[in-house]
């Protein structure tokens, strides 16, 4: 600084002239208290680095793209079922009577500059938004990141997924083309299948008999205001809890339950996250520019008398569609009331039950395992075999229902009988998930065994040794300490034993039956897991390896063949493994 401050100068002290950025920051700080806010939510917050932690971010950035493109679309979209005659640029529909909603969608597609690109980006981003949420959820599930203290954040995530699906369905219905009208007709059927109240609910929803003339404006306000507002609020809560809990991390040297090892938010993680936004935007823009999605002009305006082959919902409703398609046509009539089990079960009970399981899962698992401690270190999927196998079964069920929802497309593309697919799926959804569960569980357990083998006997070097007796064996070498730390950085599973029997007075323990169930479940959950080796076992393993090496030295082998030639532990210059005959 040129004007150094002197206390006994002749002139009064002057403040150095700051740079412009600093001035602006000071100006803002004096008015907004930025420095304090910064202290409150530290920009030095540390985030650990792992590819699987980026999945939720895909959903976040897709949502930002949805907001941006969605605002663009609202500038032209007319949420009205009023009839107009189309007079736009698309020849094949000119002069046809249609709703204003459909006409304005065509207008956006053909007569608004970049309108079709925006529509397609919006739709692709919606597909990716929900898909990324699902993938993110699977990551959280597989690594046990939903455990205490993050159970509520899991529930918020589940609600976000549900709202995302509802938002997507509302958006799918807005253009009022043949496909969206068909989708609404199915929604109408689902509502009408409600026992006793169904027809009343449908009449309230559509303002009269389907399709009525109010459903599009109603869905519109839900789509652009109500649900996005809820989504935004829940995303905010989700992120606040993320900052409050701090991010989970993989175990490793120096990483404990009480710290987070990674990059600071500012500047590194900000740069990464910001860069990732542009990447996501680029991918969505490419997809929107190159790949047709929902070509509404090909479907024509909705007309309840028409339908098209290949009418399907967007992928995230595919499992509900699949359930509906494979359900046998059961119906009962009681006291003049028709119970449409064929729609009520797959359309209402099925999805609600599935969703309830998702929301309740962290609490169910906690109850079974009795694990009430905080967890900030992630579990490898293999170390929670039952949970991993459960997800494998769920993914299998999801995939089967997806396939059932697209049974007509499968039939035409792969030349299979539509009926055969349907009959197969009716059995498969009960049988195949069980097989997937068993396979995944055994797979996890064998991977756990493999981990223990590596810890106790070392890794397989690929060097085949021949003993003086002529037998062959593979040389194993100890794994690196950091690796061994990672493999052993997990807790031992404890099977809940339950409070057994009766007390001194011969009275059964309270809640004995529930407690017994819990103990049985806990046994099923944990009993087959492979536990990490004890300290004694590890020491014995090391001792064994050293003893073997010593034996070889004592036996006077003519050359060192301990395998360390290949792992850089000692020089190979003097070694010669060629035959010395």
């Amino acid at each position: 600084m040129s004007t150094s401050i002197t206390t006994n100068g002749t002139k009064s002290a002057t403040v150095a002239k700051g740079n412009k950025a600093g001035d602006a920051a000071t100006w803002a700080d004096e008015r907004l208290g930025l420095a304090k806010a910064n202290k409150l939510m530290s920009l030095r917050k540390v985030f650990p680095d792992h590819w699987s932690f980026m999945l939720g971010e895909i959903a976040l950035w897709s949502f930002v793209i949805l907001l941006l493109t969605g605002v663009f679309l609202t500038l032209w979209f007319k949420p009205s079922m009023g009839e107009v005659s189309y007079q736009g640029s698309y020849d094949q529909l000119r002069g046809i009577q249609m709703s204003e909603a459909y006409a304005s969608t065509l207008h956006i597609s053909f007569d608004v500059r970049a309108g079709l690109l925006m529509r397609q980006m919006h739709h692709w981003a919606a597909m990716l938004f929900i898909a990324a949420m699902l993938v993110h959820m699977m990551r959280t599930f597989l690594t046990g990141a939903f455990r205490k203290p993050r159970e509520l954040n899991w529930v918020i995530g589940g609600l976000l997924l549900l709202l995302g699906i509802l938002e997507g369905f509302a958006g799918y219905s807005l253009p009022d083309d043949l496909l969206s009208g068909t989708g609404l007709r199915i929604a109408d059927g689902l509502v009408k299948a409600t026992p006793v109240l169904g027809s009343y609910m449908s009449f309230f929803m559509f303002g009269g008999e389907f399709p009525g003339d109010v459903i599009i404006p109603r869905l519109y306000i839900a789509h652009v205001l109500l649900i996005p507002g809820l989504l935004l609020a829940l995303i905010g809560a989700h992120m606040l809890l993320l900052v409050y809990h701090k991010h989970t991390q993989w175990p490793g040297p120096g990483r404990t339950e009480n710290n987070v090892v990674g990059e600071p938010l500012m500047p590194i993680y900000m740069a990464k996250a910001g860069g990732f936004f542009f990447m996501v935007f680029g991918v969505v823009a490419l997809m929107g520019g190159l790949m047709t999605i929902n070509p509404v002009w090909r479907f024509g305006p909705y007309n309840p008398a028409e339908v098209t082959a290949g009418s399907q919902p967007d992928w995230y409703m595919g499992i509900a569609e699949g359930l509906l398609r494979i359900m046998p046509g059961w119906e009962t009539h009681i006291f003049g009331i028709t119970m449409s089990w064929n729609i009520f079960l797959p359309g209402q009970i099925g999805p609600i039950a599935l969703f309830a399981i998702v929301l309740a899962y962290p609490f169910l698992e906690q109850w079974i395992t009795g694990d009430k401690s905080e967890h900030h270190l992630l579990q490898r999927p293999r170390n929670a075999p039952t949970r991993t196998a459960f997800l494998a079964a769920m993914i299998t069920l999801y995939g089967l229902l997806w396939a059932a929802g697209g049974n007509d497309i499968l039939a035409t593309q792969f030349h299979v009988s539509l009926n055969a697919i349907t009959y197969f799926m009716r059995g498969a959804i009960f049988v195949v998930p069980v097989i997937a569960f068993i396979l995944a569980k055994r797979w996890c357990i064998s991977l756990q065994r493999h981990d223990n083998d590596k810890l106790l006997h070392g890794y397989e070097t690929g060097i085949i040794m021949r003993s003086p007796e002529g037998g062959y064996s593979e040389r194993h070498l100890p794994i690196a300490d950091a690796r061994a730390y990672k493999l052993t950085a997990r807790e031992r599973d404890e099977v809940y034993q339950g409070v057994n029997g009766t007390d001194a007075n011969g009275v059964d323990a309270p809640n004995a039956r529930v407690d017994g169930l819990r103990a049985r479940l806990s046994r099923a959950w944990f009993a087959t897991n492979v536990q990490k080796p004890t300290v004694a076992e590890l020491e014995e393993g090391h001792h064994h390896a050293e003893a073997e090496l010593e034996y070889e030295h004592a036996a006077g082998l003519d050359h060192q063949a301990d395998g360390h030639q290949y792992d850089g532990r000692h020089d190979v210059a003097g070694d010669d493994l060629t035959h010395k005959h």
């Binding site: 680095d49 792992h50 590819w51 980026m54 971010e57 895909i58 020849d91 094949q92 000119r94 002069g95 046809i96 053909f110 079709l116 397609q120 692709w124 597909m127 990716l128 898909a131 990324a132 993938v135 043949l178 496909l179 590194i268 990464k272 860069g275 990732f276 990447m279 996501v280 991918v283 997809m287 520019g289 190159l290 790949m291 047709t292 999605i293 929902n294 070509p295 090909r298 479907f299 024509g300 007309n303 339908v307 098209t308 082959a309 290949g310 009418s311 399907q312 967007d314 992928w315 595919g318 007509d408 497309i409 039939a411 035409t412 593309q413 030349h415 299979v416 009988s417 539509l418 009926n419």
Partner: protein, 284 residues
């Protein structure tokens, strides 16, 4: 006037129990039915003199290539269980022959629920001869004349409306085809010639219903064809069509292309962190 009718009916009434009454009514009814048929039946069945050689040629082709399933005289073959091995072709008309043989569906390569479209085995002259032979067996729809004089956009729009009302339920919104029960399917309409489209509507091949001229007038049929041809000529505004089979393929691409590439980018971003810029050989 009323008196006269009453008189006639009274006179008829007195004769109604006559021995000749029933045969007389029968004869009158037969004459009326026959007369109406002659007056209203399709007039395509008229044979020209030079058709005789065509018919003979068609017959010889038929006996080589078709008779093993359809019978020596195209009367059809019924299996022991009472099912059709090959249906009778009497009365199906030259239009049906032109469609089935012209699109390669006949002769079938193998038995199956439905004959698949393939490269035609016969050339157009042979198909015409086969058609003439089948037409000679009994009257049926002749090969239509589909020359279009003037098609304006209003016709295309009208064709689109007919298409969505009558065709999309099986053939899909873009004519990509769709599934039917038991392994049957509605084929894709893309790349099918206007003549064959018309003949399919006229004759209802395989699973397809017949759209007779009373249901869809010849002009309506031509409008539908014009709509389909217009769509084929229209560029795909949205980019790659992904098969035009609806949201299933869109979902597939969202997962494979979208989520696939974004997860890949995520892996790339996290693998090139500041920590991993260290050179090989650096101390750990």
């Amino acid at each position: 006037m009323r008196l006269i009718t009453r008189k006639i009916s009274a006179r008829l009434s007195t004769r109604r129990r006559s021995r000749y009454a029933a045969p007389a009514v029968l004869v009158a009814a037969l004459l009326a039915a026959g007369g109406l048929y002659v007056a209203l039946s399709p007039a395509d069945a008229t044979n020209k003199a030079d058709d005789a050689s065509m018919i003979a040629k068609g017959r010889s082709l038929f006996q080589v290539g078709c008779s093993s399933c359809h019978g020596q005289n195209a009367e059809g073959i019924v299996t022991k269980r009472g099912k059709q091995y090959g249906p009778s072709l009497v009365g199906v008309g030259a239009a049906a022959v032109d469609f089935q043989v012209g699109t390669g569906r006949m002769p079938m390569a193998q038995p199956g629920v439905q004959a698949a479209r393939k490269k035609p085995v016969y050339n157009q002259d042979e198909i015409d001869a086969l058609g003439a032979y089948v037409q000679s067996l009994g009257p049926g729809p002749a090969v239509p004349d589909i020359t279009q004089s003037d098609i304006d956009n209003a016709d295309v729009v009208k064709g689109g409306q007919f298409f969505r009302t009558n065709c999309t339920a099986c053939h899909n919104f873009a004519g990509s085809g769709g599934a039917l029960p038991g392994g049957k399917h509605a084929p894709s309409l893309r790349g099918v010639s206007a003549k064959h489209l018309y003949e399919a509507m006229l004759t209802g091949p395989q699973q397809m219903p017949v759209f007779s001229d009373g249901v869809l007038s010849p002009q309506d049929k031509k409008d539908i064809i014009a709509y389909l041809k217009k769509n084929e000529a229209t560029p795909s505004y949205g980019g790659f069509t992904l098969g035009s089979i609806g949201p299933v393929s869109e979902g597939l691409f969202a997962w494979i292309v979208g989520i696939g590439s974004l997860v890949g980018i995520g892996i790339w971003l996290t693998s090139s962190s500041t920590r991993s810029t260290k050179k090989k050989g650096d101390a750990a």
